[in-house]
């Protein structure tokens, strides 16, 4: 038995699992099963939403990221800063946070504001043109939250065409770094490493680029929560002593506006986009519910949907260090103090747009290769068998069988991945084989095991 078990996004620590079955129920792809009471298994694809990490009270599930080690030791460390980082500190301003990072060993600290502004402009431009060309179907869906895009590829492939074909802010930011900052270090023969400071569970270290070729410079993900204690201390020092610090080469290495921080909140992306008919939806449950409705043909009068699988938006990300409501209040304070500002002139962005600088290098449709149809199709005969099994099991969704719900359990049985006898309520020693129809769940156990 492997004690640790890692997907691209999450790590399972089997020895800590108590078999409570809480994680099973929250997983949007129904990927998790519990075998032999406490051994967690992944039977389907993980989209890295982080819901299971939140649900596990035993600490048996964590993000695949690890605490940072030796930042800047033997290499030039470049931080790509998620705006969620700013929302962690009640008194520090974005520029103090960036300064704190430089004290931690990052040579460059890249703020997202400019890239967000460019993204928002390009997105609005695409939408404006789409009104005439009808190139993409309404409503368009924000590409910003990767968990949403993977969820669509996995569960709503018909909606992939709705994903806005504009490069995500973080991709614009990474491209800028690769084009403008890295080459000069390469010329000096120095090793560079890119650190993504993230609120969501992502791969610990990317070794391959999107086209499959190995990366020349490592790209490492750090959870904001792993960075927080050290950074917090350094910021305290900065705020009390104000040590001088030089060496900022590019404009986006300092930040004085609250633009980026606003985007960490649900609704922040569309707030400064000047698209009238837009909506912001957050949280996994509501995201799924709205995607289902869009798939049923609703909301065609809406032009743009901002979806975030995390509640309250990215500042509610599972790797955020402070609670989402505190983070919100920090952002609001920042907005009061600094307000919003525009830094990139519209016609500059427009010129880049017309040159195709915002076009993604691959269509989201390619994602279906990784996230689409993972399991073989069920035949009509198998579907009928599933319904028959559902008639014989209790239907309480207790999770004691190790599957997230009864329909999934029945499907596992038909696929030969579970035994009908795994259902605790079919067992001969239990007389109540079936719930009385008018009292469903009355005597159902609190947790699975």
């Amino acid at each position: 038995m492997r004690p640790e078990y890692t997907t691209c996004y999450v790590r399972f620590h089997e020895e800590r699992c108590t078999g409570c079955a809480e994680c099973l129920k929250v997983c949007p792809t129904r990927a998790i099963r519990i075998r032999n009471r406490t051994s967690i298994r992944l039977v389907d694809l993980c989209i890295g939403c982080g819901a299971c990490i939140r649900a596990c009270a035993a600490g048996a599930i964590s993000a695949a990221t690890r605490p940072p080690q030796q930042i800047g030791n033997g290499h030039v460390a470049i931080a790509l800063v998620s705006p969620v980082l700013y929302a962690q500190f009640p008194t520090a301003m974005p520029k103090d946070v960036l300064l704190g990072l430089r004290h931690m060993g990052f040579r460059h600290t890249i703020d997202m504001s400019i890239f967000l502004e460019m993204f928002q402009f390009a997105a609005a431009e695409f939408i404006r043109r789409n009104r005439e060309t009808g190139e993409a179907p309404w409503p368009l869906i924000s590409p910003v939250c990767p968990a949403v895009v993977r969820l669509i590829a996995f569960q709503f492939p018909a909606l992939l065409a709705h994903v806005l074909p504009v490069l995500r802010p973080v991709a614009l930011m990474a491209r800028e770094v690769k084009e403008r900052i890295i080459p000069s270090y390469e010329a000096q023969g120095r090793q560079v490493a890119l650190y993504y400071l993230n609120p969501c569970p992502t791969m610990e270290q990317e070794r391959f680029g999107p086209d499959g070729t190995p990366l020349r410079h490592p790209e490492i993900s750090i959870g904001i929560n792993d960075l927080y204690p050290d950074l917090n201390q350094r910021i305290d020092t900065i705020l009390t002593e104000v040590p001088p610090f030089s060496e900022t080469h590019f404009e986006y290495e300092t930040c004085a506006t609250a633009n980026a921080a606003l985007v960490a909140m649900s609704g922040g992306e569309i707030a400064s986009m000047r698209i009238e008919k837009s909506m912001a939806v957050h949280g996994l449950r509501d995201t799924v519910a709205y995607l289902q409705k869009i798939e049923m043909g609703l909301f065609q009068e809406v032009e743009y949907f901002e979806f975030r699988t995390c509640r309250e938006g990215c500042l509610g990300g599972v790797l955020s260090a402070v609670d989402k409501y505190m983070a919100r209040s920090n952002v609001q304070r920042m907005l009061h103090l600094h307000g919003l500002g525009r830094r990139v002139p519209g016609n500059t962005i427009l010129r880049l747009y017309d040159k195709g600088r915002f076009k993604p290098d691959k269509s989201p449709l390619t994602l279906t290769r990784f996230f689409g149809d993972r399991k073989p199709a069920l035949s009509l005969e198998q579907m009928v068998r599933i319904e028959k099994i559902l008639d014989t099991v209790a239907g309480w969704g207790c999770g004691a069988c190790g599957a997230p719900d009864c329909p999934t359990f029945a499907e596992d049985v038909v696929r030969g991945e579970a035994e009908l006898g795994d259902c605790q309520w079919l067992h001969p020693s239990r007389p109540c084989m079936k719930a009385t129809p008018d009292e469903p769940g009355r005597s159902s156990p609190e947790s699975g095991l």
């Binding site: 569960q155 492939p157 018909a158 289902q292 409705k293 798939e295 049923m296 043909g297 609703l298 149809d373 399991k375 199709a377 069920l378 035949s379 009509l380 005969e381 579907m383 009928v384 319904e387 499907e411």
Partner: protein, 146 residues
């Protein structure tokens, strides 16, 4: 020949649970890997049918039947019924209440949408007694995108 039959209750004026049958049908078809475009057409039709019961009809039931080459959705409700079916089928015709309009319904596009997306549609109504809408979708459908 195998066939899968299932039924779902639909409650009049229950906007909270409205749409659940359609979502369920969608997920069944997805696990059978039906063509996404066909699934979408089915979903649009069953949703519009379900909502018509919730908004205009009485309590009702949705019967689903999946066979090897086709899918049939039959929606029956014991509400007020439709006086003039060909009028009701006109795009833009609607008797939706203010409450329903506030929730974004009442464009009078439901029945026309169902007709557009189903391979076959039959609507019958005995005013004051019941309304029955039956829609058929062929696996090898000649229809295009919704």
């Amino acid at each position: 020949m195998a066939s899968l039959k299932k039924f779902f209750f639909i409650k009049a004026r229950d906007f909270v649970h409205a749409g659940e049958a359609s979502i369920h049908i969608q997920s069944l078809l997805k696990s059978m890997h039906w063509d996404p475009v066909l699934i979408r057409r089915v979903a649009i039709c069953s949703y519009e049918g379900e909502m018509n019961v919730v908004i205009h009809g009485g309590d009702g039931v949705l019967n689903l039947s999946i066979e090897n080459d086709r899918l049939i959705i039959e929606i029956i409700d014991d509400g007020p019924g439709i006086q003039d079916i060909s009028l009701a089928m006109q795009p833009g015709y609607s008797t939706a209440s203010d409450e329903a309009r506030e929730m974004g319904f009442g464009a009078g596009m439901g029945l026309p949408n169902m007709k557009k997306n189903a391979d076959d549609i039959q609507i019958e109504s005995e005013p004051g007694i019941r309304t029955r809408a039956s829609m058929t979708f062929l696996l090898e459908s000649p229809k295009e995108t919704p």
